[in-house]
């Protein structure tokens, strides 16, 4: 989509494998994440997402396969690769006695910025992540969501080319999620490569450009690149007169399932165009429709398909 062929991809992983004892956590993951785009990393628990992110963050060596971030090989050029990566783990601690400002300055220094640069960058990020009021507060007073935002600021302190975010939205209130989404879009627009893993698929839905589906440590083709229009999706239809709706569907030869709510049914449609067609026909037939909505997001559907495949 956005990736140009002459561009070095932000992240390139080729046949990555990593085992812990007899457990194969990552087992042949191959994908690229283009620059200037948000790539979603999706998979059930234990599918190797966190391990994959640890490899890409330069903390874990793959048993075999290659990976590079911003053109730097993760093993042979580890320090340069780490300098280009901002990593936000799913769980992380903070230094309780240090203020938010000091934590960010420390990390700026750890990434090789000088004192002034670190302080300026820290102040800027605290502002951008709505933590300016807490600049001189110790990190231990922060709420979970605020800590999460501080963690994101920490990952951004050296203005990395590649962002690896492991469940960045967990613990965030709805408003912060929207802000996170906007921030990620803005970073992608400025040319950064962003890889986000999350279980909350609905929020990825609004932000991702590409998706990588992991299952048993391997990326699987879950139809993520298939055009929207050819995939059958579930739609929920609701009408003031549910009997009229069901009769209309029978007449039109559209199979349906009863929904949990008595005035609603579910149907499978191939895309938005067929949904529009159905609405027009139903209104013409005098069915008092009030709700037409996809039951699941694209990601969720793909994810569930993945789950079925696993089972």
């Amino acid at each position: 989509m956005i990736a140009a062929d002459n561009c070095v991809p932000g992240i390139a992983a080729d046949q990555l494998r990593r085992s812990f004892g007899s457990v194969r956590a990552v087992d042949g993951a191959t994908f690229t994440a283009p620059t200037g785009a948000v790539t979603a990393l999706i998979g059930p628990n234990g599918s190797g997402k966190t391990t994959l992110l640890l490899i890409l963050a330069g903390l874990l060596a793959a048993d075999s396969g290659n990976a590079s971030v911003a053109g730097h090989d993760l093993v042979s050029d580890s320090a340069a690769a780490r300098a280009q990566v901002g990593w936000m783990p799913d769980t992380f601690g903070t230094w309780d006695a240090l203020t938010c400002m000091e934590i960010l300055i420390t990390f700026g220094r750890a990434y090789g910025l000088d004192k002034q640069q670190s302080a300026a960058r820290a102040a800027q990020l605290l502002q951008r992540l709505y933590l300016a009021d807490f600049a001189n507060q110790p990190a231990r007073v922060l709420s979970r969501g605020q800590k999460q935002r501080l963690g994101l600021a920490r990952a951004l302190v050296h203005d990395p080319q590649v962002l690896l975010l492991d469940e960045p939205a967990s613990g965030l209130d709805p408003r912060s999620r929207v802000e996170l989404r906007d921030l990620l879009r803005a970073l992608a627009a400025s040319g950064k490569t962003i890889l986000v893993s999350s279980h909350v698929l609905s929020e990825l839905e609004e932000v991702y450009d590409h998706a990588v589906f992991l299952s048993r440590g391997r990326n699987v083709d879950a139809g993520s690149n298939t055009p929207r229009s050819t995939v059958l999706r579930g739609w929920r239809l609701g009408a003031l007169d549910p009997v009229a709706l069901r009769e209309f569907l029978v007449r039109s030869d559209i199979p349906y399932e009863l929904s949990a709510s008595p005035d609603e049914v579910q149907v499978m449609l191939t895309g938005a165009a067929s949904a529009a067609e159905l609405v027009r026909a139903a209104v013409q037939a005098g069915v008092p429709l009030h709700t037409v909505t996809p039951t699941t997001g694209r990601l969720e559907e793909a994810y569930l398909a993945l789950d079925e495949e696993r089972a």
Binding site: L60, A61, A110
Partner: protein, 393 residues
């Protein structure tokens, strides 16, 4: 990024994290009061027993300060060393696995900081924290120095060596905290190492020396009791050379085990006061200076057992005996005058041999360096193998 800017970043982070906690000030204050109490007790006891001896009529050659000063300074120094060895593990032995448990280590490893920068930053921070506790003892050391006419040189050397020993223990703790995932485990292992260096080394010597006894022949110049025994007073002219079958203890084979002991290293490295230089044995028995006592004991152990001995001078009525720097026996009568006797056996005075402490210090520093290297290796990312029970993040 230069090595030192990364190092100072880690040191700053660690120190702020430690020093800002309230516990720190409570611990430091309690420690100050405690060491003040112990030092006061030592000074009081030493001076009390001196005056007690005087009132009981034992003549003491030296005045009260010269008599008790070295004793007080030495005891406080060894006490501070002991406390330093106890304190250092609490600062360093949880610094890697503790951070890992808190989830703060991996984010640091993911930065441009190298493993060596993180490890040395943590080592320096733990060392500086321990040193604060040693420096808190300084006022009491100064009291001991002023009271006892201790030379500044002796103070500087003693404390420099104590600081190095504390650094060694910090490095051992750092290594264990990298090796063991549970903080309790690494603290215990670090204390085991401290116990190994201090107590176990002594126990080993105490066991190995008797196990290695053997019979040997010694040429003795003296009166062979079985042949010459009669009622007459023995005379120097009766002395002859004879062979005697005796037990060799071979402490010289095992002295190096005591040399690794930090207490021995500090004691042996302490410059001796002028009063001790000519006659260490006499100085030790008159002042009870613990530094000089250990110094003498270890160097005496290191000397191989003599194959020739002079027993002849025993027949003389002398008040004090020692060997001068050339190894000649010097006998003094009760007026302190040198008596006319020339021993056929030269005995170099104990302590004149090469110092023991460089060996001990070198072995300790090597041990610390090995543990530091382990810590560096264990912090190096990307991890190829993860030891059991250790998570990356």
């Amino acid at each position: 990024m230069s090595f030192f800017s990364g190092l100072s970043t880690v040191v700053g982070l660690e120190l702020r994290q430690r020093v800002r906690s309230k516990r720190w000030f409570i611990a430091l204050t309690a420690w100050f009061v405690f060491i003040g109490f112990i030092s006061g007790l030592i000074i009081w006891t030493a001076r009390f027993s001196y005056t007690q001896l005087q009132t009981e009529g034992y003549s003491t050659v030296l005045d009260i300060n010269a008599q008790t000063g070295p004793m007080v300074f030495g005891t406080i120094t060894l006490f501070v060393l002991g406390m330093g060895l106890l304190i250092a593990p609490t600062f360093s032995a949880t610094s890697i696995n503790g951070d890992r448990a808190q989830g703060t280590l991996a984010t640091l490893q993911a930065t441009r900081l190298s493993a060596a920068q993180i490890a040395s930053g943590k080592l320096v921070a733990a060392w500086l924290t321990s040193l604060t506790f040693l420096v808190a003892a300084l006022p009491f050391i100064i009291v001991a120095v002023v009271l006892g006419n201790i030379s500044a040189w002796q103070v500087i050397v003693c404390f420099a060596v104590v600081f190095v020993e504390v650094a060694v223990v910090c490095a051992i703790g750092l290594g264990w905290s990298a090796l063991i995932s549970r903080t309790a485990g690494s603290v215990v292992m670090t204390y085991m190492c401290v116990v190994g260096l201090t107590i176990i080394s002594l126990i080993l010597v105490a066991c190995l020396v008797p196990l290695n006894m053997e019979q040997g022949k010694v040429r003795v110049y003296g009166i062979d009791t079985w042949e010459y025994y009669d009622d007459t007073e023995p005379k120097v002219t009766d002395c002859t050379w004879y062979e005697s079958e005796e037990t060799f203890y071979h402490a010289d084979r095992f002295w190096w085990l005591t040399a690794v002991n930090p207490f021995v290293i500090v004691s042996d490295s302490a410059p001796l006061p002028d009063a001790a230089r000519d006659n260490l044995t006499g100085y030790v028995s008159s002042t009870g200076d613990p530094l000089a006592t250990i110094h003498l004991a270890v160097r005496a152990m290191a000397e191989p057992m003599a194959t020739e001995r002079d027993d002849c001078y025993w027949v003389l009525q002398y008040y004090e005996s020692y060997h001068d720097a050339e190894g000649n026996l010097v006998l003094l009568d009760q007026n302190g005058r040198r008596m006319d006797y020339e021993s056929p056996v030269k005995v170099m005075p104990v302590g004149a041999g090469p110092p023991v402490w460089p060996w001990g210090m070198a072995s300790n520093v090597l041990l610390g360096a090995a543990f530091f290297a382990v810590a560096c290796r264990r912090l190096k990312v990307p991890y190829r193998t993860l030891p059991k029970g250790i998570r990356v993040a």
